[in-house]
């Protein structure tokens, strides 16, 4: 659910929604969600002073009921 929720939130605020990809990584210390976006959109999802990135983290953590790490990555980086 939480990855889908994040996908929805991100797709709504970027110019290239089809390029948005989410991958979930569970590890001992909790969950990390990696968000890949089109390089054109990276500034948008981070926002001024990281404001948008912080908003995404806050909402996703509230939905998950625990602190979730959200990493924002440009899609064309080597996997």
């Amino acid at each position: 659910m939480i990855d889908e929720a994040l996908e929805h939130l991100v797709k709504g605020i970027v110019d290239n929604p089809d390029d948005v990809e989410i991958s979930e990584k569970n590890h001992r210390r909790g969950t990390t969600l990696e968000v890949r976006v089109n390089p054109e959109d990276i500034g948008k999802v981070i926002g001024r002073n990281g404001r948008t990135a912080r908003a995404l983290r806050t909402v996703v953590s509230a939905l998950a009921g625990e602190s979730v790490r959200v990493d924002l990555i440009e899609a064309d980086e080597v996997r």
Partner: protein, 186 residues
Amino acid sequence: MSDENQVETADLIEPVELEGSNVKKDPKDLIKQLEEEGDIAADYLEGLLDIADLDGDIDIDVENDRAALAITSPTDSAGGLNHLVGERGQVLDSLQELTRLAVQTSLGTRSRLMLDIENFRGDKKSRLTKLANEVANEVKTKGEAIKLEPMNAFERKVIHDTIQTLGLTSESEGEEPDRCVVVLPQ
């Protein structure tokens, strides 16, 4: 100092250059645009509620030249949507920010829409309105300015608006997060 109110009335959250398109538009066009903002915002929020399997009624309105959306849970069962408000409304503010961006992405113009969940802002507003009334009375009787506690932009705006309707003036002073409203005698 006197034009600081103006800035806050123009935008609560951050100083934003007024869009020419908004200012010059005829009122009917403005309302139409705000209704469109409301619809896009509602779609965005509804999509989120669906995914999270949360029940919520979304009410769309236009208030004070802004689109206003309010989400309430139909029954108060299981704590409703209070986790989407969060401590001191932090989650609510984040969700409002993202919803504004979604509207901006879709329409290409900045949105100043207001989001409320479980009447968090509404309740806060009525408390603040009451406070403003009490302070205004005190200022009128004593003839001295009163400085209030530090408040965020939303809270200050509620105070300024109320003070104005009571025939007094107020201004903000200090820097965030310690910015306060000062209510001035006539």
